[in-house]
Structure formats: structure tokens, C-alpha cells
Symmetry: C2
Subunit: 224 residues, 2 copies
DNA sequence: CCTATTTTGTTGTAAATACAACGTCATCTT
DNA sequence: AAGATGACGTTGTATTTACAACAAAATAGG
């Protein structure tokens, strides 16, 4: 339990709060933990959801299969990250994407109305949570815009460069591990896997990058 | 002035509030109005911004030009819509996109901290605004996910069908006007204008759609 | 340790796209 | 009214992609 409090403390939702505050807030918010096995669905597109969740352990994929089985991946969620907030609208719109556990995962969910309705007496940190929730969605928004940036590029190579550059920047290093395998990366960038694989091969040949499985290194060669 | 109160009343930010409440809140929030001529920049990528804005009149484009001059359009903003919320993070990240007036426009801006900091005495509707702001970002988030849906399609035709279908659904009619000209639509869907134009022509030939300038009609012919 | 399954790379081909160039028509400006 | 500018459609070509098929390598499960 203690380790999860640590995760919560570092999550966007509880930013700026102390451990003991979190513990009392968990009671106030009535957070509920739930385990999911690999491949299990945390949320299904079409469901109604009025909860906001934090991933405590594991990894989730936010994805979408169309009628013909083509899969597109919106995002990958790691420990401490908030998800589901965007669907939690008052009108009660259905969830747009599937959320699937990529490995054994532990999720803590909060009823949105419990978060948005301040309890006047017990919980002085409540308004902080509301602001944090706003910032969390705000940040998610930015991530989506950045993703648009990647896929707005016209060629597979440009998309790869855009994505890998951002990952390098985010990790503060030219060497980093991505949360996707090849097929998932292709689904994330909306390109064909085999074509992408070929392009990666060419980029390696040309000395731009090195990689092995999902570990990539950008080399000091001027790109473009 | 009165007409703008009406716009505000119908905006996501002030949903559920009455006119007289809005007037008192405007004082509390110190909203500032500003005019922009056609082509003028409301926000520039790279700027710091800590404000949330509502478009009172006109139309804005959220767009992005890369180093080589390729433009991509993230969204079109109409009267009553909220924008800029996503950049208003505490850490003070730079704005990611240009916001440009497509025609003469009137914008009202609020200091984010004024919104998030509740004034304990004067303004009982303040917490409502905070929730609304959350819902507004949340909804924007959904729009982005829906946009991802469109551009995740592989061919220009599929992207067009996806986008036009959604617009038809949104308007509750097979006939509707889009807020883009051809070049802008192409930049929005991340495709080549001429190729898109050709594809639209084919779709018209095949009896799927009709269009003239930016007025489209989806015909009752099974798509796919 | 062996086998089944998954992941990744490679290649060929048909299809789709980007890009450039150009003509027509509409709109704006003076 | 005339010229300039912008929007739209059309066409040809080189480039890029999607798709299918297959082999090699890695991984998972018993």
C-alpha cells in the first residue's frame, strides 16, 4: 500500500499534497483499486464512465479498433498517469476508446462527482485536487496536440523523426526506451508496420539512428 | 455588449449561469475584450500565456507552420468557444500553436489564476466556473481524439468520409457548411490539397456527395 | 529443452500520395 | 472596369505507401 501512496503522491492529480493528506483524501474520495491481467479491458469504447483513474502499476494502451479491425493507438499510459478524465463529462458521453492492460496492472478509480463536489468540512485539500484535475486534462490536451504534430508529417520517416526527437527530448538523452513494440508504434503513428520497419532500417543504414527492439539511440548526425 | 453576454451565456465556460450572474462574474474575473483584424495573431507559438479566452465574434484558426512552411490546422474556433485553456498550465509552458483570426474577431480573455483562485466572499458561482473550465478542456480533449480518428484513416477518401460524416452528425443533417476552404480542409486533414480536390471530384462523380465551395451534402448512397 | 507463438525485418507489386504546373472562375482593390 | 490575387479543379509524374507473403529471430509456455 505504501508504495502506491508514493505513486499517487507523484501523480498529477495529487501534486502538491503530502502523504498524510493523500491518505485522508483517499477516504474522502473513496478511491477504489482494481487489478487487471494482461490483455484485459479497463474501459471499453461505448461504455459510460464517470470516473477518473490513476494507474498505480503496469502499463495501459489507449486504443481503438475500427469496424474492419484496423487498430490505432492513441496513447500509452504509465504508472502515476491519470486517464479517463476526458470522458468524464456531465452530459455522460460514451467512452471513445478502449483502454487495455498491456501487462498486469493496478488501477485506482475515483468517482468524478466525488472529486468535483467539495466536501465543505472534512477536506481542505479538495480544491487543490480540482485544480490538479484541470491541469491534468490540460496536459493530456497538450500531449494530443504534440501527437498531432507527429502525424501531421507526410512521410513515415518524418513521423519517426518527429516522434523519436520528442522522446529524446523528454528523456533528456539520445538513448531511450519506447513503450511500444513495432506494431504498436506503427499503430501509434498511423503508418504501415512493414513500411515503417523498412524505413527504420534505412535510417540505421544512413547512420541516423541505432536501435534494438524498443531501445533507440539518435546519433549525432544532422537529420535532414 | 448585451449580445456578447448572450454569447458568454451559451459558452461552455458559463454554462448553467444566469445573465446577471455573468455580469458580476465578469467584474470578479476581470475579463478583457480585444479586437483582432483578419489575419492578425491572437496567440503565437512560443509565447507564454496564462489566460483562458472565449471568442465572442468572428472565427479563429488554431494552426501551426513548420520550419519549411508546411501548415497544419489543429482546429477552427467559432463564437462562444473556449480556447487557450490547454496552455494555461502552472509550470508556464509555451503556447504550441498559432491562433489566427480568420475574419474580424472579438476575444475576451481571463487570467487563469483569477479563475482558479476562488474569491471567498464576492462570488458564489466561482466554483461552477472552475468545473465548467474542466469540462471545457475535457470536451476539447474529446474533439482532439475525434480528430485523431479522422486522420488515422489511411486514404484521403476515408479521411474525408470520416470528417464529413462527423460534421453531418454534428449538424443533424446531411447538408452543412464547413469552416474551411479547400486548402484549410487539406491542412486540417493533413493531406495534399490537389489530391483531396481530385478525390472530392471522384466522390461527387460516384454520387456519394455534392458540394459547392464549403457547403457539402452527403447523399443517401451507402458509403462502403 | 523443445515447440508454438510472437515479433521483426525484407521484398515485390499495386495503389495512393505529393508535388508542380496550369487554366478557369471568383473575389478584391483601386 | 481592369488588373491582381486567391480559390478550385485537373493532370502527369516521381515518390511513397499499403498490403501480402515469407523468413529469421526472439519470446513464452509447458
Amino acid at each position: 500500500m505504501r508504495e502506491f501512496i508514493e505513486v499517487l503522491k507523484n501523480s498529477a492529480l495529487f501534486e502538491g499534497t503530502e502523504e498524510h493528506e493523500i491518505i485522508s483524501m483517499l477516504k474522502c474520495l473513496q478511491g477504489k483499486g482494481k487489478k487487471y491481467g494482461k490483455g484485459e479491458y479497463v474501459l471499453r469504447a461505448g461504455e459510460m464512465s464517470v470516473s477518473v483513474s490513476i494507474l498505480l502499476k503496469g502499463r495501459l494502451l489507449i486504443q481503438n479498433d475500427d469496424y474492419w479491425g484496423n487498430r490505432s493507438i492513441v496513447n500509452s499510459i504509465g504508472p502515476g498517469e491519470v486517464f479517463g478524465e476526458a470522458y468524464a463529462v456531465p452530459a455522460g458521453k460514451p467512452v471513445l476508446n478502449d483502454v487495455v492492460a498491456q501487462e498486469q496492472s493496478l488501477v485506482m478509480s475515483f468517482d468524478l462527482s466525488k472529486i468535483l463536489t467539495t466536501c465543505p468540512t472534512a477536506c481542505p485539500f479538495h480544491s487543490r485536487i480540482i485544480k490538479n484535475l484541470f491541469f491534468a486534462v490540460s496536459k493530456k490536451n497538450q500531449l494530443l496536440v504534440e501527437k498531432l504534430w507527429h502525424i501531421s508529417r507526410r512521410t513515415t520517416r518524418e513521423k519517426l523523426i518527429s516522434y523519436l526527437s520528442q522522446e529524446a527530448a523528454r528523456n533528456g538523452s539520445g538513448s531511450f526506451t519506447i513503450p511500444f513494440n513495432r506494431q504498436q508504434l506503427a499503430d501509434f503513428l498511423f503508418v504501415d508496420r512493414s513500411a515503417m520497419s523498412a524505413e527504420l532500417g534505412k535510417m540505421r543504414e544512413q547512420g541516423l539512428i541505432e536501435f534494438e527492439r524498443n531501445k533507440f539511440t539518435l546519433l549525432n548526425k544532422r537529420v535532414r
